[in-house]
Amino acid sequence: MKTVAKTGNEAMAYAMKQINPDVVAAYPITPATEVVQIFSNYVADGEVDTEFVAVESEHSALSACVGASIAGGRVMTSTSSQGLALMHEILYIAAGNRLPIVIALVNRSLSAPINIHCDHSDTMGSREAGWMHLYCANSQEAYDSLIIALKTAEATAVPAIVSTDAFILSHAMERLEVLEYSDVQNFIGEYKPRFSALDLENPKTYGPLDLQDYFFEHKRAQIDDFSKVLDAYDKAAKDYAELSGRYYPAVEEYKTEGAEVAIFAAGSTADTAKEVVDDLREQGRKVGLVRMRMWRPLPVEQIKATLGKFKAVAVMDRSDTMADFGGPVFLETRGMLYDSEEKPLITDYVYGLGGRNIELTDIARVYDDIEQVANTGKIEKLITYLGVRGEK
C-alpha cells in the first residue's frame, strides 16, 4: 500500500492498470477523456498487457467490448454523458448476453443545452439496462470501487458501471492509498468465463434470435441472476476490506444513531453532507445521513430498514425524471417504503444540474426543512429544485 495524490480520473485509470484487462475499447469524451488517455499511455509504455482498440464512437467502443467479452476476455471501457447515451442499445446487449464488462464512468449532464459538468442524468437514463451501478464519493472510492465492481461483475456475469462526479471528483486531486499490483491481481483472480467463443472444443451460438417461445424465460432468468448481485457485492466488498482496510457497504449510514431526520444522497454530495451532519450534531440536532452507493441492483431491504427509522427523509436527486414528479431516487425510495408500517415523510431535492455548485449551507437548509417536516408531521413542499434561480 502506498499513499499517492491522484485525480478521480487518474485513480480510475490506475485501477484499470492494476486490473490489467485483456481488452479496452474506448472513445474519449470530456470529462472521462483522461481515463482513456492515461490508460492508452500505459498501453503504449508496455505497462499493461491490454489490447487497446481505438474506435470511432462509443457505440463501437461498447460493441467491441461485447465482442471481446464473448471471446472470453476481461474487458473494460470508460465514458461519460453523451458517450453513455450512444452506448445505450449496446448496454442491453452486454447485460443480456451476461458479459461482465466494467465501465469507468464520469457522471455528466446530457445535452441540450450543452454542458460538460456534473449531474447524474446519464447513468439514471440507463438504470434499466441490467448493469450494476456504484456511485463514488471521492477518488479513493473510485479506485477501490472499480476493483470491487470487477470482482462482483465476473462472479455474477453482470456488467458494472462505476461512476464519479464530473470535475468535482474527476479533475480534483486528492490523497489516496493504492494497493500493490500483485494484491489487486490476487484479489480479482484469473477470469474464467463460463463460455467463450474461442473455446473451439465446445462451440456455442452467441446472441441468437429468441422470440415469443423463450425470450421471456431468458429475461426472467436474467432478472433472477441480477438479484444475486447484492450478495456477491457484499462478499467482494468485505474481502476487499480485509485487504485494504476500507469497507464500502451498498448503503452507508453516517451518524444515524438517534437521528430523527436524514438526507438520502449519492456521490460527492453525500461526502460533503457528512461535514454538515457533524456540524449540526455539535449543536445537538438529531440529524443523520444515508448514502446510496449501490443503485443497481437496488439494496431494497437495506434501504427500507435504514430509512424506515426516521420521521422525515430528504432525497437528493442530481437528475430529474421529467415525470413532473421529481427525481428517480425519490420515486424509487417512495416506492420501496410504500408497504412499510413505519415510514418517514419523504421529500425530494433536485439539485446540482449541469454542475451547479452545492454549498454546505444548501445542505444545512435541507436539514432545516426536514426537521420542520418531522416536527409538524406535514410536508409543505414535496419537490424542491435546490439552488436554481427564481425558486425558494
Binding site: H117, N138, D165, H171, A172, S268, E275
Partner: protein, 192 residues
C-alpha cells in the same frame, strides 16, 4: 468543524495555475497533509482568466465544494488585478501573493486590503532570467511556501523537485532551473 487551509490561484490560460495547484497539493501531501487540488473549469482559452484551488487538512477531506473563503490568494498575472476582484472572500488574517514588479505597499493600497498580508515577488522576471520563458507558476511556489508558512520548506522543495523530475524526465536544465527559480522567489518575496 474540521480546519482547512484553502488557496485560490488566479492566472491566465497557459500560465500554469492548475499545475501550480497540483504541485502545491502534492508537496503538501509529502509533508503528511490530506489535500485537494482542483481547477475551475470553463471554456479554456489561452490568456483567459482561470482559477485553481487547494484545500489542505490534517485529516481526511470530505467536502467537495468550491473554495469560497480562501486563506491565501495567489495571482500569477498582475494584469488580472484590473479586471477581477482577486480579494473576494479572502479570510481576515489571510494573505495575498501577487506576481508583480510593484512594491508590496503599492499593491496593498491598490487592492485596499487592510486585514490580510500582501506579498509581492517579480516571478516573471525570475522566470525569464533563469528559465528563459515567462512561466511564473512554479516560481511562485517558492514565494507561496515562505509567505504562508503552511509547509515545511525542505520537504516541500524536495517534493516539487521530484515531481518536476518525473514530468521532465531527465531534462536536467529545466529541473535545476525551476529549483533555482523557486529558491530565488523564496528569498526575494516582499511582504507588506
Amino acid at each position: 468543524m474540521q480546519q482547512y487551509f484553502e488557496v485560490r490561484w488566479h492566472g491566465r490560460g497557459g500560465q500554469g495555475a492548475k499545475t501550480a495547484a497540483l504541485l502545491f497539493g502534492e508537496a503538501a501531501m509529502e509533508t503528511g497533509k490530506y489535500i485537494q487540488a482542483f481547477p475551475e473549469y470553463g471554456p479554456e482559452r489561452t490568456g483567459a482568466p482561470v482559477k485553481a484551488y487547494n484545500r489542505l487538512s490534517d485529516g481526511p477531506i470530505r467536502i467537495h465544494t468550491q473554495v469560497t473563503d480562501p486563506d491565501v490568494v495567489v495571482v500569477l498575472d498582475a494584469s488580472l488585478l484590473e479586471s477581477i476582484n482577486v480579494t473576494e472572500g479572502l479570510k481576515k488574517g489571510g494573505a495575498i501573493l501577487v506576481n508583480t514588479q510593484e512594491k508590496a505597499e503599492v499593491i496593498k493600497k491598490k487592492l485596499g486590503v487592510t486585514d490580510a498580508k500582501v506579498a509581492v515577488v517579480d516571478a516573471t522576471k525570475i522566470a525569464v532570467e533563469i528559465l528563459k520563458r515567462n512561466v511564473p507558476n512554479t516560481v511562485m511556489l517558492g514565494a507561496m511556501v515562505k509567505v504562508t508558512g503552511a509547509l515545511e520548506w525542505d520537504s516541500a522543495l524536495a517534493s516539487i523537485e521530484a515531481k518536476l523530475s518525473e514530468k521532465f524526465r531527465g531534462r536536467k536544465e529545466i529541473i535545476e532551473g525551476n529549483v533555482k527559480a523557486i529558491k530565488k522567489a523564496y528569498d526575494e518575496v516582499e511582504v507588506a
